[in-house]
């Protein structure tokens, strides 16, 4: 166990899940929500030459997807460091070992 205590392990996992679920809610809202379920309502609004619902379906949702991954990467790195479970040099050596164990050398 790399965590300092059981409690730390639980807290880390809970924070991780909360972040993941929040981001997935946004993921669902922009694609299935704005781009599909609410598309007709949003199409009443214009964004330049785009109808807003159409824009979300063919452009906007993809930009938000990218943003979500960026936020996830940054937040997770902070979380790993907060609980002191980020990777160090040991990890790289272990990766090498795992490779050798799996495939022989």
């Amino acid at each position: 166990m790399s965590f300092e205590s059981e409690q730390h392990a639980k807290d880390y996992w809970r924070e991780n899940l909360r972040l993941m679920l929040t981001l997935l809610c946004i993921w669902f809202a922009v694609s299935f929500g704005f781009g599909i379920l609410l598309v007709d309502a949003l199409n009443a609004i214009k964004l330049g030459g785009f109808k807003l619902g159409f824009w979300f379906a063919q452009q906007g949702s993809i930009y938000v997807f990218l943003l979500l991954i960026v936020v996830y990467v940054i937040k997770m790195n902070t979380l790993d460091r907060k609980y002191n479970v980020h990777e160090d040099h040991e990890n790289e050596e272990e990766f090498e070992e795992a490779l050798e164990e799996e495939f022989g050398q």
């Binding site: 880390y12 599909i36 030459g49 785009f50 949702s61 997807f65 990467v73 790993d80 070992e97 495939f103």
Partner: protein
């Protein structure tokens, strides 16, 4: 120089680069062969993933499909990008920490069962073959149109090149070749889009251009003009679709979840050294994919307006066939465009109702686009090279998954545990070579169902792998009985629905007969739900996963340390 010579030069130059890279990065060991030695930088890995992912279908067909589908085309745009969010958040970091290198290995170890492993191997091989046959066909089409060799010769040349670098270089060769292929294909996609965007709207960025006013000074928005043209010609408005909302919802979900469950995509996240890098790789991959995917709807819109204007003429009365531009002639010769003068006025006319006189294959939109817009010859040659790069990069990735599944998961882990590293590498190369020959054969003699089975690949991945992997990570108690029952019911349900509507009774394939109005393309979503439900129900009534497996699941949930996974 004419288009033909330029195309030969550009395609030849890109082939020389791919082969050069293959020789430079030759695989010396099984782990070079399977996971590129594990030392791939996240940016390079992102590019390789993007090239791996964007197939001949994305490059050649997608914009054409959107062009004909309008709003409904969004199912592909959101479906094939949204899956990367699932990959980055729910799969990649944990699978990387798990420390095994293939999807069947994860399924087999997590569910402590060789049966589960074998089911996973069969699914992986089937999904990959389905895909690869389509890629080889794509290579053939590009060759036959631009190099004027027949499709068979085209496919054989393509096979030769892939054979050379996939068999020789393995994952290492493929990864670095794919980085080069990504650069070729993205340039080939963006250059004509930018040219056309400037011509039509005055904007350099196509993503902005297609939502702007036309450059002809009329002050009309491009999309408004297209909506107007569409209704006038008897089509539905371009910015609203024809599919039902529930169907769009289910197809998008099946494609997203399918993407996150495709073995040749997942395997990419095993090639980076750290969990942190696996997360980052998914981000880079999506960035590189988004470049093409956000440009595609712009191309679709430009191409449609241009095509209607060229065929129907600026006054909308039809262009006399005798005055038709060269591209119509060229494509008529390949049989992908045809004109039937129904009202015998000698003029072509394209419409969505009985006035229509044109049959236009959707696949030609991207390839013909530069010609339609009168772009210089080198742009056309570049597009040909891009199409070939897209097809080759995807085939190579898929072939590798096939060979790994067979040599490592089936032979080494199951049937012949005593073979040496060197023998295993030999088997991997033989498996790759055999797979290429089968793929080539399928490319030359495509079974009538190649197009249909794409739905199959995504449906299968969505209804089998995805739930099994997700529950493997997030539901510690999930046991082998639940996982196997779930996978089997998901696959069987999805396969039965698709086979019924696509092969047994295609006549009934219409919204009135579909369950809840869900088309076979979207049924994988329901299959996935079924998989989750069955697995959880079965796991409740059988004993929970053994303690050592539950501990292993604990250990893949954070980055630090080796994790007990690789220790047994």
């Amino acid at each position: 120089m004419d288009i033909q010579t330029l195309t030969f030069l550009i395609v030849g130059a890109t082939f020389a680069i791919y082969i050069g890279i293959a020789i430079w990065s030759r695989a010396g060991s099984t782990h070079d062969f399977y996971v590129a030695g594990g030392g791939v930088h996240p940016v390079a890995n992102g590019m390789a993933t993007a090239a791996d992912w964007m197939s001949a279908a994305s490059f050649i067909s997608m914009a054409g499909l959107i062009s004909f589908m309008g709003y409904d085309g969004a199912v592909y745009l959101m479906g094939w990008t949204g899956g990367y969010v699932l990959l980055a958040l729910c799969l990649a970091p944990y699978l990387r920490k798990f420390g095994k290198f293939t999807v069947p290995a994860f399924i087999g170890d997590r569910y402590y069962s060789n049966t589960a492993r074998t089911v996973a191997v069969i699914c992986a091989v089937f999904v990959c073959f389905t895909y690869v046959a389509g890629q080889m066909r794509g290579v053939g089409v590009v060759f036959s149109r631009f190099l004027e060799v027949d499709i068979t010769t085209g496919v054989i040349i393509g096979m030769g090149v892939v054979f050379f670098y996939a068999v020789l270089g393995g994952m290492k060769g493929i990864t670095y070749t794919q980085v080069a292929q990504y650069c070729v294909l993205i340039c080939a996609y963006l250059v004509p889009a930018i040219f056309i965007s400037i011509m039509m709207t005055g904007h350099v960025i196509p993503q902005i251009g297609f939502g702007s006013e036309l450059a002809d000074g009329s002050g009309t928005y491009l999309l408004d003009k297209l909506d107007g043209l569409s209704t006038e010609l008897g089509f539905t408005e371009y910015t609203s679709g024809t599919k039902s909302t529930i169907d769009v919802f289910f197809i998008t979900a099946a494609l997203m979840v399918g993407t996150a469950g495709l073995p040749h995509v997942i395997v990419r996240f095993f090639t980076v050294p750290k969990v942190r890098d696996a997360r980052k790789s998914a981000g880079w991959a999506l960035l590189f994919i988004a470049l093409l995917y956000t440009t595609a709807p712009a191309i679709a819109t430009f191409a449609r307006v241009n095509m209607i204007d060229t065929i129907n003429g600026p006054e909308g009365e039809g262009t006399p066939h005798a005055e038709a531009p060269g591209w119509i002639d060229n494509w008529e010769r390949t049989g992908l465009i045809s004109w039937e003068d129904k009202n015998e006025d000698g003029r072509m006319f394209y419409a969505g109702d009985e006035r229509n006189e044109m049959t236009i294959d959707r696949d030609i939109m991207v390839l013909a686009n530069p010609e339609i817009a009168n772009l210089p010859a080198w742009v056309i040659a570049l597009v040909a090279a891009g199409g070939i790069a897209a097809a080759l990069s995807t085939s190579a990735g898929l072939l590798l998954v096939i060979s790994t599944s067979i040599s490592h998961d089936l032979l080494k882990r199951n049937l012949m545990p005593n073979i040496t590293d060197k023998q295993e590498l030999g088997y991997a190369r033989i498996a790759a070579a055999v797979a290429i020959c089968v793929a080539g054969y399928l490319g030359i003699n495509p079974p009538g169902f190649v197009a249909q089975v794409v739905a199959f690949a995504f449906g299968l991945a969505a209804s089998s792998f995805f739930p099994a992997i997700i529950m493997g990570i997030f539901y510690k108690r999930m046991n082998k009985e639940g996982a196997i029952a779930g996978m089997l019911s998901g696959i069987l349900f999805t396969a039965a629905y698709i086979i019924y509507f696509k092969f047994i009774n295609p006549a009934a394939n219409s919204p009135e007969n579909w369950w809840f109005g869900i088309s076979p393309e979207g049924i994988g979503t329901l299959g996935m739900v079924l998989n989750f439900a069955v697995a959880i129900a079965v796991a409740r009534v059988t004993s929970e996963a053994p303690a050592h497996v539950q501990e292993m699941v604990e250990s893949i949930r954070f980055p630090k340390g080796a994790g007990e996974a690789s220790a047994h």
